[in-house]
Homo-oligomer: 211 residues x 2
Amino acid sequence: MQRQIPEVVVSRLPMYVRGLAELHQDDIDFINSKDLGHRFGMSPDQIRKDLSYFGKFGRQGRGYNVALLLSELRQILGLDRQWCMAIVGVGRLGRAIMDYKGFVPRGFKIVAAFDKERNVIGKRVSGVVIQDMAELETAVRDKKVDIAVVAVPSTEAQEVIDKLVRSGIKSILNYAPVYAYVPKDVRLEAIDPVLALQGMTYYLARSQDYR
Amino acid sequence: MQRQIPEVVVSRLPMYVRGLAELHQDDIDFINSKDLGHRFGMSPDQIRKDLSYFGKFGRQGRGYNVALLLSELRQILGLDRQWCMAIVGVGRLGRAIMDYKGFVPRGFKIVAAFDKERNVIGKRVSGVVIQDMAELETAVRDKKVDIAVVAVPSTEAQEVIDKLVRSGIKSILNYAPVYAYVPKDVRLEAIDPVLALQGMTYYLARSQDYR
């Protein structure tokens, strides 16, 4: 069994996978930690340290075997199988998420959706019939849901997340703009568009200063 | 004038700001690069290197002054003012973005919205009147839009982004799940929920292996 991988290293692996997939598509077979570091804006040391958790991929002088490292990281991240998702909250945001075309090609399938509104329950959205929130716990088990996506208003987010935790869900993606609490054995990731915006204002502020 | 800051360093600043704001709220006045590194999962070296671009915040033995560093980074990122955003595409996703309560408290205000559908144009959503896509270029200038948020279907994203670039927009946040191309002087950030999901499947894959 592998040794414990720090969370922050795990959190960087999807970025490595995306970058390596691009290299692979460009027919680049080997890359050294210096060039990888340049690509990801990290020191070669940090890259070597990150990847050392997963075995010996590098070869002195030649660098990392792109295809091998990519396939290994995909396997480590569990991207070699399909994951089942449930959407909780089928308002505007929930529907937009169910419309999103980027999930299935990368191994994420929406198998269930829940709402508490009478006028929504029973309707079919993107091929999935919306169920009553009251059915959440049994449906999550029956449909073998791996990941829940929370798209309810902020005021309801914590309550919904607590319900998901009770139903046994261990991975939650939260779109509501609130901090939410989960037990230690549950993973909670948040979609925060403001972080992406804040990375751009740096350049705007600069260009306006010298306008 | 400051020296050129590498893009990847800039991209990490919002994370530093968020972390420092939490420390500040917890009444922590000083923190050293080792503890910061632990918090962000980076080597103390990398932290010191990142922050060294912005002047001398650290003091030997005492660490960084949290309030000072936070205020300085906020200023560097341009977070000490309000930014004006336009939403392009007012379908489900666009409306969900306009409903989002997390923008205004962190300095981002939606001042314009555009769509090409006759039955949407002229309607008011979250206090903003939807305008015809044909008015985009003049409205962007009149309303001094700093940042555009693209929420159109994938097939239309590149066309809309080209139009935004022609109108003089320098910062674009793209929600469409496609790679898009922009000139070198335009910043394009993408919201990719799959990257967040991929960071969680690692733990799911592990727990299922040993179930």
